[in-house]
């Protein structure tokens, strides 16, 4: 460990990724400096880009927090993807079913709660299966991903289809989450909406809950040693169920961004990918709330930057660039938080 102190790992990661990124872009026949410059100016360089960047990071903070929470209980929630899909479905159905007179202060929480509940149900089921029957959560959550994908496609193509549209019936106007250009006209045109405030708060709220409440302590105790947790009377299976339900709810809340914020309806493929990206966010974050926000912002920067230069560079090159940067970030993050031993 002492041979690779934090600073050296960070430096090596930056250097190595810079070399690889440069050569890959150069091999594709483009100017590396030009491409990186465009990626940065297209995201950080103007208000619209900034808004799009933050909008992309919003669901990632939620799915990242979902995966990170489950990890604290020793569970690997590969199912955030399906939980997002379930949330999107539920938010669209609930948002459209609300009576026309429902005021916004009731409509938004109701639709968001429906999304969270759908995710919680899906996640909690997998947690319960693990605690009750020992069915491994990686398998069960992956299966719920597949299940939700097929179910969503079927519903969107059938009963939920709004006439000739590809999307569902639009949700009640009062259930829409306001876009942020009302507060900051700067972001006009971007998808950034108020969900980002919720997403920014959630990693810190979850962290505080884990550290400051007895239920949170139990989650960490079970994650540390379920044998020992059981011996002090903690119900390991109940802890698994609750933790996965909360993790599912967090992932489901991503629908607030997509359905209540951006689209106002649901369609097949809405929110696809953010669940799996949440896995990377959680790994890079290394269990820190601030890390979740930072990792989500990094992922979003790469994704949005990729869109900006998509016309100039082949998509495959961008995938390689994103992967290299993420691996480097993960390496730094892991080393940064490696426990330092007290008495060796």
């Amino acid at each position: 460990m002492s041979r690779y102190p934090r600073a050296r790992v960070a430096l090596l990661a930056v250097l190595a990724s810079a070399i690889v990124v440069n050569s890959v872009i150069a091999l594709a026949g483009a100017q590396p400096a030009d491409i990186v410059g465009r990626m940065l100016s297209g995201t950080l360089g103007n208000p619209y880009g900034l808004g799009q960047w933050l909008a992309r990071a919003t669901p990632l903070m939620l799915t990242g927090a979902s995966v990170a929470l489950a990890l604290r209980a020793g569970l690997f929630n590969v199912g955030a993807e399906g939980q997002v899909t379930a949330g999107v479905l539920a938010a669209a159905v609930a948002g459209a079913a609300l009576p026309a007179a429902t005021p916004a202060w009731l409509a938004v929480p109701a639709a968001a709660l429906a999304a969270a509940a759908a995710g919680a149900l899906l996640g909690g089921l997998c947690g319960w299966l693990r605690g009750r029957f020992g069915a491994h959560e990686v398998v069960s959550t992956l299966m719920t991903n597949g299940l939700m994908a097929v179910l969503a496609t079927w519903l969107y193509g059938g009963v939920l289809r709004d006439g000739a549209q590809v999307s569902t019936r639009p949700i009640l106007g009062a259930a829409r989450v306001p876009t942020l250009d009302r507060i900051a006209p700067l972001f006009r045109g971007s998808s950034l909406n108020a969900t980002v405030l919720l997403a920014l708060a959630i990693p810190f709220v979850v962290d505080r809950w884990l550290l400051r409440t007895s239920a949170g302590l139990r989650v960490r105790a079970v994650g540390d040693s379920h044998e020992s947790a059981r011996a002090v009377g903690i119900s390991v299976s109940a802890t698994y169920t609750k933790t996965m339900a909360i993790a599912g709810a967090l992932a489901g809340l991503a629908a607030t961004h997509f359905v209540l914020g951006v689209k106002g309806a649901a369609e097949d493929g809405l929110g696809a990918g953010v669940g799996f990206a949440g896995l990377a966010v959680a790994v890079i974050a290394q269990g820190r709330a601030l890390g979740l926000v930072a990792a989500a912002l990094l992922m979003a920067l790469l994704a949005q930057g990729g869109l900006v230069v998509g016309a100039v560079v082949p998509a495959d090159v961008l995938v390689v660039v994103q992967a290299v940067v993420l691996v480097a970030a993960a390496a730094v993050a892991v080393r940064w938080h490696a426990p330092r031993s007290v008495n060796p």
Binding site: R218, A221, S225, A229, G233, N343
Partner: protein
């Protein structure tokens, strides 16, 4: 060196970290001889085996095989390969067949440049080998389809296939059912008749006396007894296995036996427990002696509520615990310290303060705000009382030394109001200083009226702390003595065979 053939271990010593595992031990196995090695867990038997086959190097001393010195670091050379080991834990590739496993690494070849493994020949050779030694097993069966006894036969075939002249068997009968033991012992004899030198590690005196030509007893890394088969004295061996140095008894108040026991077990039947009954009174320490794996762990877990019991009853203060979960039992004043503090004891990734706080059964359910400042203060005062170092309440328990971690665990259980404490191996892997603290804490709890079930393998420790000592053998309590009457002579045969010598003679 006198030039005689054989596997010779000459005055080897070996230490791990700071503890001496072997201290000047010599062992000579001649071809055609069965040599038995007897001793408690932790006596150094496995270390001796690993040194004898070149897996690890001794700190001092030497190993030679048929007069060729085994050089340090030679674990894989041809010389060392003439020594075959069957470990307690099998080392087999589960999805492969018996024949594949046996020949793995030394496969017979055929075809151009020997590029093709000749599996037909492998199976044939394995079959003939298994017939020759009567090690019945189908060469084409996959390992995962086999039972424990068959897997062990495959391990033996592996050793024989490689042409080992010396065969070291690490507690081979521990995993076998009684009907499988006799054939194994016959194989051991057959190996010796064919000129192999065999080392047999066993706890069971009957087996040892029935096959061994010579017997050696290890205790705390030293040879305490050597004898040949004709001079072997059953009692002397048992005494040597369990015997310890005489210890001084700390002064204690005597127990005033209450009319009602604080803990009572009646005919408890569970996995590993066979109709166990016991009574424990306020302010009493009941020691549970026994060779490990005779139901002690099951007893502790049954009382703690971690395993369900099939029949019988466990009562605390006269109340049947049958339908009470762990939390309810802990709320009634039951404490539990398992034998392995990292598996079922502490949460190494959590802080000292958090580990101590989790001892409170009220935290096991419901939700409440943690008063972090108060938890830290409490942790500081507990750490001071139990002399846990360093005294930082936010330090991860995993960063503590073994002794300090054990003090955290004992402190967690003893720092609330207890009626009964079940504690197993309280000072295993713990340095002397911490042991003294833990012993003092236990006696203090006893003086405060806590009833203690103390499960241990260190007889000296058991005798010095206990008021009574019960002996467990094969899941039952076979005898209970006042601690002062529990001599090594009394306990030894009971622990090893479940009966006193007299009973044994009449049986």
């Amino acid at each position: 060196m006198n030039g005689a053939r054989g596997l010779r271990v000459e005055s080897v010593s070996r230490s791990f970290a700071s503890s001496l595992a072997l201290d000047d031990v010599s062992l000579h196995i001649a071809p055609g001889e069965v040599h038995a090695l007897v001793g408690e867990n932790g006596a150094g038997k496995s270390t001796l085996i690993r040194i004898a086959c070149g897996m690890i190097d001794p700190d001092a001393g030497s190993v030679s095989i048929d007069d060729v010195l085994l050089r340090p670091g030679d674990g894989t050379d041809a010389n060392a390969r003439s020594v075959g080991v069957v470990h307690q834990h099998f080392m087999l590739v589960e999805p492969l067949t018996v024949a594949d496993n046996v020949v793995l690494g030394t496969e017979p070849r055929r075809g151009l440049l020997g590029l093709v493994v000749d599996r037909v020949r492998a199976a044939r050779e394995v079959k003939s080998l298994s017939e020759r030694y009567d090690l019945r097993v189908d060469p084409h069966a996959t390992i995962e389809s086999l039972g424990v006894g068959e897997k062990q036969r495959v391990e033996l075939l592996k050793v024989l296939y490689r042409g080992a002249r010396y065969v070291l068997l690490d507690e081979p009968t521990a995993v076998l059912s009684p009907s499988e033991i006799a054939p194994l012992l016959e194989t051991v004899r057959e190996l010796a008749r064919n000129g192999a030198g065999v080392l047999l590690v066993s706890h069971k005196l009957d087996e040892v006396l029935s096959v061994a030509d010579r017997i050696m007893v290890l205790k705390k890394g030293r040879v305490v007894l050597r004898c040949s088969r004709n001079e072997a004295d059953r009692e002397a061996i048992a005494r040597a296995v369990v015997g310890g140095e005489p210890e001084q008894q700390p002064p204690r108040t005597s127990v005033v036996p209450s009319r009602k026991p604080v803990l009572r077990l009646e005919n408890v039947v569970a996995a590993g427990l066979n109709a166990v009954s016991l009574e424990l009174h306020r302010g009493e320490v009941l020691g549970i002696a026994g060779v490990e794996g005779n139901g002690q762990r099951a007893l502790a877990r049954a009382i703690a509520g971690l395993d369900t019991i099939a029949a019988g009853s466990v009562a605390l203060d006269g109340r049947n615990l049958r339908d009470l979960n762990v939390t309810a039992r802990r709320s009634m004043g039951l404490g539990y310290v398992p034998e392995d503090r990292s598996m079922g004891g502490l949460m190494p990734g959590l802080s000292i303060a958090e580990n101590l706080a989790l001892g409170d059964p009220q935290l096991a359910s419901g939700n409440s705000r943690l008063r972090l400042r108060r938890l830290r203060e409490q942790a500081r005062s507990v750490a001071a009382r139990f002399e846990i170092n360093p005294r930082d309440p936010d330090l991860r328990v995993g960063a503590l030394s073994g002794g300090n971690a054990q003090k955290v665990l004992v402190a967690r259980e003893l720092s609330r109001t207890l009626r009964v404490l079940v504690i197993a191996q309280p000072t295993r892997g713990v340095d002397l200083g911490a042991s003294v603290h833990i012993h003092r804490a236990l006696l203090e709890a006893r003086a405060n009226g806590v009833g203690i079930v103390l499960i241990g393998s260190d007889l000296a420790e058991l005798r010095s702390l206990s008021d009574r000592i019960a002996v467990m053998h094969r899941g039952r309590i076979v005898a209970t003595f006042p601690a002062q009457d529990a001599t090594d002579e009394q306990l030894g045969p009971l622990m090893l065979e479940g009966a006193t010598p007299k009973e044994h003679a009449t049986r």
